[in-house]
Amino acid sequence: MDDDLPTDFQVIVVGTGMVESIVAAACSRIGKNVLHLDSSDHYGGLWASYNFEGLQKFIKEINSDPNRQLQVYNLIEKWYIDKDSPQEETKQETEEEKTEPPKKIWSQADFASEYRKFNIDMTPKLLFSRGPLVELLISSNIARYAEFRCVTRVLTWLNDKLNPVPCSRADVFATEAVSIVEKRMLMKMLTSIVGYNEEEMDNEFKDWTDKSFKDYLTHKGLTPNLIHYVLYAIAGGSDAMPCLEGVRECKKFLMSLGRYGNTPFLWPMYGSGELPQGFCRLCAVFGGVYCLNRPIDSVETKTGDEGKEIVVIGSKSKNLNCDHLVIGINECPKDLLSSEPSESSDISKAIFITNGTIMPSEKEPLTLLRFPPLDEGDNPVTVLEVGPATGSCPKGLFAVYFITNKVKDAESDLMKYAEKIFDMTGDQTKAGDKPTCLWSLFYNVKDVSAGVRDGVETVHVCAGPDAGLDFDRAVIQSEQIFKKICPGEEFLPRAPDPEDIVFEDDVTHGPEFRGDEGDKE
C-alpha cells in the first residue's frame, strides 16, 4: 500500500492540528499538490476531541511513555464514583418515589458503556461570532462542514457565588442585579468602548496607555460590581490588565454580540476537534492526499537541480520530497529547531464530568464562566460548561473545562476553583445546589513557539494550542505560513457550492429536463 504513495509534492504537512490543517487546506485550495500526514490514527493532534474510550487510550499512552507526548505532562485522572452501580438499592428507591424519578446514580461502568456519547475536547475553545475563525469559515465556505451552538450565558464569580453577567443590551435591560443608574453607566461604558478606534490619535483612552484597565474603570466612576463585570467577565482580565488591552478585549466581545445569539460566542458541535477536520476535508476535496498513522523519521534539506531547495522526509523507509514542509511543533525533529531559547508559557487545564449544571436554567445551558483570580499570584480562570445538546456527553451529564495560565501545576492551580462550584465528595444522592463531580482529569500543556534553524527557509513550524479563548492565534499563524509558501496568493478563497462545480470528463448526463412552458405560438 505504501508503494502507492507518490513521492513528490509541492507541500507536505505533518500533523493535523489546527494550524497545520488550515495551511494544508489553503495550499490545496489554490492548486498546490499537498500531502498531509499524521503519526497517530486520528485527526487533530492535541486539538482533537475524544470519546471516552479514546480518551482512556490517550491517558494510558502518556502515562506509560511520558516521552512520547512532550507537550502534555502532570496528567492526573481521578474517579469520584464507584466502579459499578449498586443495583438493588436504586431499584428500591425507584419504587418509593414513583412520582419523581430519582437522579441517575452514575458508575464507572456506565461511562464505559456510553463511551461513544462523549466528545471530550483536549483544546476546548469558543469562537467569537465576529472573530477571525468565524469569518474564515464563512469566507472559505468551510462552515458547511461544521455545526455550532450559541453559548447561552456568561457567568462570573462575584460575592462568593455565581452571577450572570449582563453583557448585551437585552441583558442589561432585564437584569435586576444592578441599579438603574448602574445600567446607564454600564451601557455608557460599553458604548464608548465599541466606539474606540485605535487609529484615531485623539481617542478617549489616549492618556491611559501606561495605566491599568481597572484604574480607568474606577476613574470613570463605575461601581465595584460593574468593574467586576467589565474587567473580569467581559474583558477576561485581571487587576493588572493594561487599559488598552482591556478596551481591545471588551470591544472584541461586544462586536461579536447579536450576530448569532445573546452572547458573543459559538461552540462547535461534537467538540473543537471537528474544526481541523473541516479544513482537512476541504484540502482533500481539492486533491490533498491523506495518510494517518504515518510517523516520520527524518527531515533533511538538500539543494536540487537548478539550485532549488528541496525538503526530504524519511518515513517508513521511503523518501518523500517537497518544496515546503509544514510541521507541527510536537512532530518536529529537535535538530531542525532554532537553538535559541524558545518562549514557553504553559497552560493548566482540567476536565470535569458532572451530573448537573452549575446553575440550573430553563433550557439546557451552554456556559462561559470567568473566574477572577481568587488568590494573589493566580491567573484568571476560564470555565466552559457544555451539555448533552452539544454532543459532548450523555444525557444527564455535563463536561466542564477549566483553563488558566500555569502557576504551579494543573491540579493546584485549578482544584480550588472547581471546589467552589462542584461537590467533590462523589455523593450523588445529596440534593445540594452544587452538581457532583464524577470524574476529573488535570493536565499541563506546554505552549512553545520556536523558530526554525537559521538558513532553512522551506520548513515551517506550527505552534500547538494556546491558552486563548478563541482560535485567533492559530488563524493568524496559518495565514502567515501560507503567505510565505504562496506569496501573493489569496488565502482560502470561497470554495464553490456543489451546484457550481462543472465535471470535466466522462460524466454521462441524464436526459435533458424539458419544462412544459413552450411557446405555442
Partner: protein, 504 residues
C-alpha cells in the same frame, strides 16, 4: 486525476445568471399577458388561479392579482359546495404562507390571509396565532405581523394575560420595539383598567410598568420606543366632550343643536344655537355625560348682566396613588444621580423635568421652567417643543389662580414668552384678551377661535407674519402693532372680517 474540480469562471457565472434572469422575465411577461386576456374573456377558472399562483410566488406584491383571486373565489362560492370551498380556502392559506416567506412585509399577502379566514367556515385560529409567533420570532418588529396578530386575537380571544406575557417576552428579547410596547399598553388597559378614571391603568401595575420602562430608558436612552411608552404611562386621560350636553334655563330643558366651534366630534368648546330669551336672574344649569358615563352638572352664575358663567373644578395635576408617587420619587432620585454624572444628557434632564412636573407641578414649577430653558440650548432642534411645554405649564399655573377669580380680562402674568395658546377655552368668556409681548407666530391664529366673547384682542409685539387662518370673531378692537404683517395682508383681512378698529 479523479475528482478534481473545475469551477465556472465569473464570466460564465455572469452569463448563466443573465440567462436565468431572461427566462424569468419571459415567463413573467407571458403569464401576465395570459392572465389579462383570460380576465378580459371572463374566464374565471382553476387555470387562471394556477397561473396567478405561479406569478405571486415569485412576486407576492402584485395586488391586482390578489384582487382577481378574491373575485374568482367569491364567484366560486356561489357555485361550489362548502367542501370544495374549504379546500380552495386552505390552498389559499398555503399560498399566502409561501408568499409571506418570500416577503414577510407583504401588505397584500397578509390581507389576503385575513380575507380568507373571515370567509372560510371554522377557521383554525390557534394555527394563525402560531404563525404570528413564528414570524415574530424571525422579526420581532414586523408591524404587519403585530397587526395581523391583533386581528387574530380579536377573533379567537385567547386569555389576555397570555398576550400580555407575550409582549413581556418579546420586550426582554429586544425592547426597541414600538409594536410590542403599544400592544402591551392595549393589553394593560383591558386587563387592569383604572376604574376611577383619569389614569391609564391600576396603580399596582402602574408602578411595575414604570420600573420596567425606566430600566429600558436607562439602558439605551437613544432608543425612543421606551420614551413614548413612559410618556403614555405618565399621562392622564383628558376629558373631551361630544355633543351630549344639556342646558336648562329655570329648570326648563333648552333644545337646540350644540356645535363645536372647531367642527370636531369631541371638543372642549361647544356652542348652542337656541331661540330662548335669556333674562336676568335666571337659574341656568348645564349637564353633560362624561366619558365614564357619569353625569356632571354645573350651575351658572350671573357674572355680568345677561352673562352667566358656570365653572367646574379644574386640575392639571395628575392624580397618582401613594405607591406610584413613591416610585416616581425614587426614579427622580436616580435621574438626579445621573444628572450629577452627566449634566448635559438631554434625555436625563427631560425625564427629570417630566417627573418633577408629574409629582408636583406647583412646587417644582421654577425648576421645571429652568430645566426646559436649559434643554432648549442642549437640544436646540426641539426648542419649539420645549417652548410649547413652557407655555402650557406656565399657563396651567396661572389658570389655577385666574379661574377662581371673577376676571373678564386675560393677560399673561409670567415672564416666560408664550409660543402657543393651550387651554384657551378657559378664557372663552373674557372680553379683553391681552397677548402682547409674546412670541406668538401666525401658526397659532386658528386657536383664537376659542375666544368667542372677546371684544378687545391685543396681539402687539409678537412674531406674526400674516393673518391667514384668523378665525371669525366679533372683535371691536384688534391691536397688531409690532408685528411684521404685510400691508396687503391687513387690507385683505379687513375685507373679510368686520373689526371695528384695527391698530397697526
Amino acid at each position: 486525476m479523479h475528482g478534481r474540480i473545475k469551477v465556472r469562471t465569473s464570466e460564465e457565472e455572469k452569463a448563466k445568471k443573465e440567462k436565468e434572469r431572461q427566462e424569468k422575465l419571459k415567463f413573467f411577461k407571458h403569464a401576465m399577458q395570459k392572465i389579462q386576456s383570460k380576465r378580459k374573456e371572463g374566464e374565471e377558472d382553476d387555470e387562471q388561479l394556477g397561473i396567478i399562483e405561479k406569478v405571486l410566488l415569485a412576486n407576492p406584491d402584485i395586488y391586482t392579482l390578489w384582487n382577481i383571486r378574491r373575485d374568482i373565489l367569491s364567484n366560486f362560492k356561489k357555485i361550489k359546495s362548502e367542501e370544495e370551498m374549504v379546500k380552495l380556502y386552505d390552498s389559499e392559506l398555503t399560498l399566502t404562507e409561501y408568499c409571506l416567506k418570500v416577503n414577510p412585509k407583504s401588505y397584500c399577502a397578509w390581507h389576503q390571509r385575513e380575507w380568507v379566514l373571515v370567509n372560510r367556515s371554522d377557521p383554525n385560529w390557534k394555527k394563525e396565532l402560531d404563525l404570528c409567533n413564528t414570524y415574530l420570532k424571525i422579526d420581532e418588529r414586523n408591524f404587519h405581523t403585530w397587526d395581523y396578530r391583533r386581528f387574530v386575537v380579536g377573533q379567537c380571544k385567547p386569555p389576555l394575560q397570555d398576550e400580555f406575557d407575550y409582549t413581556t417576552e418579546k420586550l426582554y428579547d429586544n425592547f426597541s420595539n414600538y409594536s410590542a410596547w403599544h400592544y402591551r399598553s392595549k393589553m394593560l388597559v383591558e386587563l387592569y383598567p383604572d376604574l376611577e378614571g383619569g389614569r391609564p391603568i391600576q396603580d399596582s401595575h402602574h408602578k411595575h410598568e414604570l420600573k420596567m420602562v425606566q430600566s429600558a430608558a436607562f439602558t439605551d436612552p437613544d432608543d425612543t420606543s421606551a420614551w413614548f411608552y413612559q410618556r403614555w404611562l405618565l399621562g392622564a386621560v383628558k376629558e373631551y366632550l361630544n355633543n351630549n350636553i344639556q342646558l336648562y334655563i329655570n329648570d326648563e330643558c333648552v333644545n337646540g343643536e350644540w356645535e363645536s366651534c372647531t367642527g370636531y366630534e369631541y371638543d372642549d368648546l361647544w356652542i348652542l344655537k337656541h331661540s330662548h330669551k335669556i333674562l336676568t336672574k335666571s337659574h341656568i344649569k348645564v349637564e353633560y355625560i362624561m366619558n365614564n358615563n357619569g353625569k356632571q352638572s354645573i350651575v351658572c352664575n350671573e357674572y355680568q348682566p345677561l352673562v352667566y358663567i358656570g365653572k367646574s373644578e379644574i386640575s392639571f395635576q395628575n392624580q397618582y396613588s401613594k405607591p406610584v408617587v413613591e416610585e416616581l420619587n425614587d426614579q427622580l432620585d436616580s435621574c438626579r444621580q445621573l444628572l450629577a454624572l452627566e449634566p448635559d444628557n438631554r434625555w436625563t434632564l427631560l425625564t427629570t423635568t417630566v417627573f418633577l412636573h408629574c409629582i408636583d407641578p406647583k412646587l417644582h414649577h421654577l425648576e421645571v421652567i429652568d430645566n426646559l430653558q436649559r434643554l432648549k440650548k442642549l437640544d436646540y432642534q426641539r426648542a419649539g417643543y420645549y417652548n410649547d411645554l413652557i407655555s402650557m405649564w406656565s399657563i396651567e399655573q396661572q389658570l389655577q389662580n385666574d379661574y377662581n377669580e371673577n376676571i373678564d380680562k386675560f393677560h399673561i402674568r409670567f415672564g416666560e414668552k408664550l409660543t402657543s395658546l393651550p387651554h384657551l377655552q378657559y378664557y372663552s368668556f373674557c372680553q379683553t384678551v391681552d397677548l402682547s409681548n409674546q412670541e406668538l407666530t401666525s401658526r397659532i391664529l386658528p386657536t383664537l377661535i376659542k375666544l368667542q366673547h372677546c371684544k378687545i384682542l391685543d396681539l402687539s409685539n409678537n412674531k406674526l407674519t400674516s393673518l391667514d387662518g384668523f378665525p371669525a370673531l366679533q372683535l371691536e378692537q384688534l391691536i397688531l402693532k409690532g408685528n411684521e404683517i404685510k400691508e396687503e395682508d391687513i387690507a385683505s383681512f379687513k375685507e373679510k372680517h368686520c373689526v371695528t378698529k384695527i391698530i397697526i
